[in-house]
C-alpha cells in the first residue's frame, strides 16, 4: 500500500452492515466519500481517527490517501475507488445509491 500522506480521509466498515463508511465533517460516519472530511494535516487525521474509532459503530478504521477534484473526493488508490463504488461485475453497492445518505 502507498505511504499515507495528506490529504487523507478516515474510512472504516459499519459494524452491523459491513458497509464502507467515511468520517464526515460533523464527526458522523457516512456512506459517501464525498461527505468525508478531507484532512490536509496528517496529525489532525490521526487524532480524528483515534477520537472516532468507536467499536460500537465501526470496524477497522484507517486513513486513505485522496484527491479532491471540483468538490468530489476520490481515493488515490484503485482499491479505495472500488470501495467507494462497489463491484464491477454487478450494479451493486454504493454505485446504486444516493451518495450522501447517512448509514
Amino acid at each position: 500500500m502507498a505511504r499515507i500522506k495528506a490529504p487523507v480521509v478516515v474510512t472504516a466498515n459499519h459494524l452491523g452492515s459491513g458497509e464502507v463508511v467515511y468520517l464526515s465533517r460533523d464527526g458522523r460516519w457516512q456512506a459517501s466519500m464525498d461527505a468525508g472530511q478531507v484532512f490536509t494535516e496528517l496529525a489532525e487525521a490521526e487524532a480524528a481517527l483515534a477520537r472516532h474509532d468507536n467499536e460500537l459503530e465501526v470496524v477497522g478504521a484507517y486513513l486513505i490517501n485522496v484527491e479532491v477534484h471540483g468538490g468530489r473526493v476520490e481515493g488515490q488508490h484503485y482499491r479505495e475507488q472500488f470501495r467507494s463504488l462497489g463491484p464491477s461485475n454487478y450494479w451493486h453497492g454504493k454505485q446504486t445509491e444516493a451518495n450522501d445518505a447517512p448509514v
Binding site: A2, N13, L15, G16, S17, G18, E19, V20, E55, L56, V59, G60, Q76, H77, Y78, R79, F82, R83, G86, P87, S88, N89, Y90, H92, G93, K94
Partner: protein, 557 residues
C-alpha cells in the same frame, strides 16, 4: 448421502446459539473486535471490501436438492439473490449483514449445513472429486473417506489452533479431478495387492510459495487412515512455524525437514495415535459406504435422447462438451457450466439454484455437486432424461456448452470483493471468455485450463493453470502476470512466469497471442495446448506473448 446424526444436529445448534450470543455481545459492546473477530471467523464470517462475507461449507461438494433450495432462499432473504461457488467447493455470500448471520446459520442448520471451519487455522472443508460415485475411471467413491475425515476433523480439540490453515482433498481415481497434489494432504484411494489402500501426498499448496505435494505413503492401509492423518497433524502442530505466517504452512515444514525425516517423525507419532483408534472409525466408515452407495438402474427410454442428438445440433454440442459417461450403464454425468461468457465465473442466481434443485430432485437422485472449477454437476442422470434437462437448463440460461474450454475458466472474487486482493480477477475473466466466444474459437482451441487469481494467495489456482494469470498492484496500477505450463491433474506441474506483467488493457491481447501461437505450432488438432507447450518449450510462447500487438492477434472468423 450422509445425514446428520442427533449428535451432529445438537452440536451445530449449540454452536449456532453460541455464535448468536457472541454477535449480540459484540453489537452491545461487551466484546471488542479483537475478541470477536476469531469467533466470527470460526463461523465463516469475514469482513471484505464492501460488506461481510459468509462462506458456507459444502462437504466434498455434495448437495441435496433441499440444501440447494435453502441456499437459494438464503440468497433471496439475506443477500442479493445470488451465491458464488468457490474453488474449495464452498458457496460464499457477498452481502450479508453481521446482525443477520445468526439467522442464516440457523437456516443452514435446517438442511444440515454450517460454516464451521471455513476459516481459521483449522482443517478446512474436505474436498473431493466432483464426479465421485459416478466416474467410470474410479476405483472407489472417495466421499465416505472424505466424510470420515470431516467427522474426525470437525471440532477436533487438538487441531483448532494449527500454525496455519490446513486443506485436504480426496480422489478415488487415478485421474485427478481434485488437484490433490496442491493440498496440505492429498489422498488417492487405490487398489494395492488386492486391497483398498490410500496414497498420501503431503506438503502441497499454492499461494505465495507454490509447491507440489510429495508422496508420504504409496499405499497406506485404510484402517490406518485416521491415526496416520492424526500423526501428520500432530507433527505439524508441534513443529510447524508459528513465528511467521508466511512460513507456517506444512509445505514449509516438510521442505525444511525433508520428506524422509518428516516421514520418520510421522511414523513415530503414529505409534502413539494408532493406540487411540479402537476400530470404531472403521465401523463408521462401513456405515458411510452404505450411505453413499449408488446402485440404481434406469428404465428411462433412450429414444428421446437419440432423437434429440439427431435433430438438435445445440443439444448435440452440449452433450459432446458437458456430458460424460457414467459408471452405471444408461446413466450420464452432466456438468452445468457457470461460465457463460460475460458472466461471473462460479455465480448462480437464486432462480438458477432453485431450478437446479428441481432438476436434481427429478432426474439426478436428489444430488448435485459443486466442482472446484466453479461449475455444478448433476451426477446421476439417465440418458433418456438429457433432452428434458437441456431444455430446462436453456430456460435457466445455464446451457453453455463450454466445459473444459478456454471460457470455462476459474477466477477468484479478486478486488471486486476480496479484502486481500491486489487486483481484479472477474473483469479479466469476463473479457477473455467473451473474446474467445466472439472469435468462435473455443472448440478449435480445445482443452484448456485458464485460471486467474487476484492476489498471491492463489485462490484462483493460477499456478496450476495451463495459462495462469496473477493480478498484482504495480505502483498503484493493476498488473497481470502470466504463468504457463501449470497443470492440476495427475500430471501436476507448476506454471512458470514468463516475464513482466501486462496492464489490464494488454492482458487479453497477450493471452490471444499465446493461443494463436499454439494454433500455429500444434502438430495436429488433437495435440492440446499443454501438450504443445511441453513439446516445444516456453521460450517461443514467451516471445509470442510480448510480440507485436498489432499483427499477431487472432482475427475473428
Amino acid at each position: 448421502m450422509h445425514r446428520y446424526s442427533e449428535f451432529d444436529r445438537d452440536f451445530v445448534a449449540t454452536r449456532n446459539a453460541q455464535y448468536r450470543d457472541q454477535v449480540a455481545r459484540r453489537v452491545a459492546g461487551e466484546l471488542t473486535e479483537d475478541e470477536f473477530k476469531p469467533l466470527r471467523l470460526m463461523n465463516g464470517v469475514y469482513l471484505q471490501l464492501h460488506a461481510y462475507m459468509l462462506r458456507v461449507a459444502i462437504p466434498y461438494g455434495t448437495l441435496s436438492s433441499a440444501q440447494m433450495r435453502q441456499l437459494a432462499h438464503i440468497a433471496d432473504r439475506w443477500d442479493k439473490g445470488y451465491g458464488h461457488f468457490t474453488t474449495r467447493q464452498n458457496i460464499q455470500y457477498n452481502w450479508p449483514r453481521l446482525v443477520d448471520t445468526p439467522d442464516i446459520l440457523d437456516a443452514l442448520a435446517k438442511v444440515e449445513m454450517h460454516a464451521i471451519q471455513t476459516s481459521g487455522n483449522t482443517i478446512r472443508n474436505v474436498t473431493a472429486d466432483h464426479f465421485a460415485g459416478a466416474a467410470m475411471d474410479e476405483v472407489v467413491d472417495p466421499r465416505p473417506y472424505a466424510e470420515l475425515i470431516r467427522q474426525w476433523s470437525t471440532d477436533h480439540p487438538e487441531f483448532q489452533f494449527l500454525p496455519r490453515k490446513f486443506k485436504i482433498a480426496v480422489t478415488g481415481s487415478a485421474v485427478d479431478r481434485a488437484v490433490v497434489q496442491a493440498h496440505d494432504i492429498g489422498l488417492q484411494m487405490l487398489e494395492s495387492r488386492g486391497e483398498l489402500a490410500v496414497k498420501v501426498w503431503v506438503g502441497g499448496g499454492l499461494g505465495r510459495t507454490p509447491i507440489l505435494g510429495q508422496v508420504l505413503q504409496e499405499a497406506l492401509p485404510i484402517a490406518e487412515l485416521l491415526p496416520y492423518l492424526e500423526a501428520i497433524l500432530a507433527v505439524y502442530n508441534l513443529w510447524g512455524r508459528r513465528d511467521n505466517k508466511y512460513k507456517a504452512r506444512i509445505k514449509i515444514l516438510v521442505n525444511a525437514m525433508g520428506i524422509d525425516a518428516f516421514r520418520r517423525e510421522v511414523q513415530a507419532a503414529f505409534e502413539t495415535t494408532a493406540q487411540d483408534f479402537s476400530g470404531e472409525d472403521q465401523a463408521v466408515l462401513e456405515q458411510l459406504r452404505q450411505a453413499f452407495d449408488f446402485s440404481a438402474a434406469t428404465d428411462a427410454d433412450e429414444a428421446a435422447y437419440h432423437q434429440a442428438l439427431a435433430a438438435n445440433p445445440l443439444f448435440r454440442q452440449w452433450v459432446d462438451q458437458n456430458v460424460l459417461p457414467h459408471r452405471v450403464s444408461g446413466y450420464s454425468i452432466v456438468t452445468i457450466s457457470l461460465k457463460k461468457p460475460g458472466q461471473t465465473p462460479g455465480d448462480a442466481s437464486s432462480d438458477q439454484m432453485r431450478g437446479l434443485a428441481d432438476l436434481a430432485e427429478r432426474y439426478s437422485h436428489d444430488e448435485l455437486r459443486v466442482s472446484h472449477e466453479q461449475n455444478l454437476v448433476l451426477p446421476h442422470v439417465a440418458l433418456g432424461h438429457l433432452p428434458a434437462i437441456f431444455d430446462a437448463l436453456t430456460a435457466l440460461d445455464l446451457q453453455t456448452a463450454n466445459v473444459g474450454l478456454i471460457s470455462d475458466l476459474i477466477a477468484c472474487p479478486g478486488m471486486d470483493y476480496c479484502a486481500l486482493a491486489t487486483a481484479r480477477s472477474i473483469p479479466i475473466a469476463q473479457q477473455i471468455a467473451e473474446r474467445f466466444s466472439q472469435l468462435g474459437l473455443e472448440e478449435t482451441v480445445g482443452a484448456m485450463k485458464l485460471k486467474i487469481s487476484g492476489c498471491i494467495n492463489a485462490c484462483g489456482h493460477h499456478h496450476v493453470g495451463h495459462i495462469g494469470i496473477l493480478g498484482l498492484d504495480k505502483g498503484g496500477v493493476e498488473s497481470y502476470q502470466i504463468t504457463l505450463g501449470g497443470d492440476g491433474s495427475e500430471n501436476a506441474s507448476l506454471g512458470e512466469k514468463i516475464g513482466p506483467g501486462f496492464s489490464a488493457d494488454d492482458i487479453v491481447p497477450a493471452i490471444e497471442r499465446i493461443v494463436a501461437h499454439y494454433l500455429d505450432l500444434r502438430s495436429a488438432e488433437t495435440e492440446t495446448f499443454i501438450q504443445t507447450l511441453r513439446r516445444v518449450g516456453l521460450a517461443s510462447f514467451r516471445d509470442a506473448a510480448y510480440g507485436d500487438p498489432a499483427t499477431e492477434v487472432i482475427h475473428a472468423s
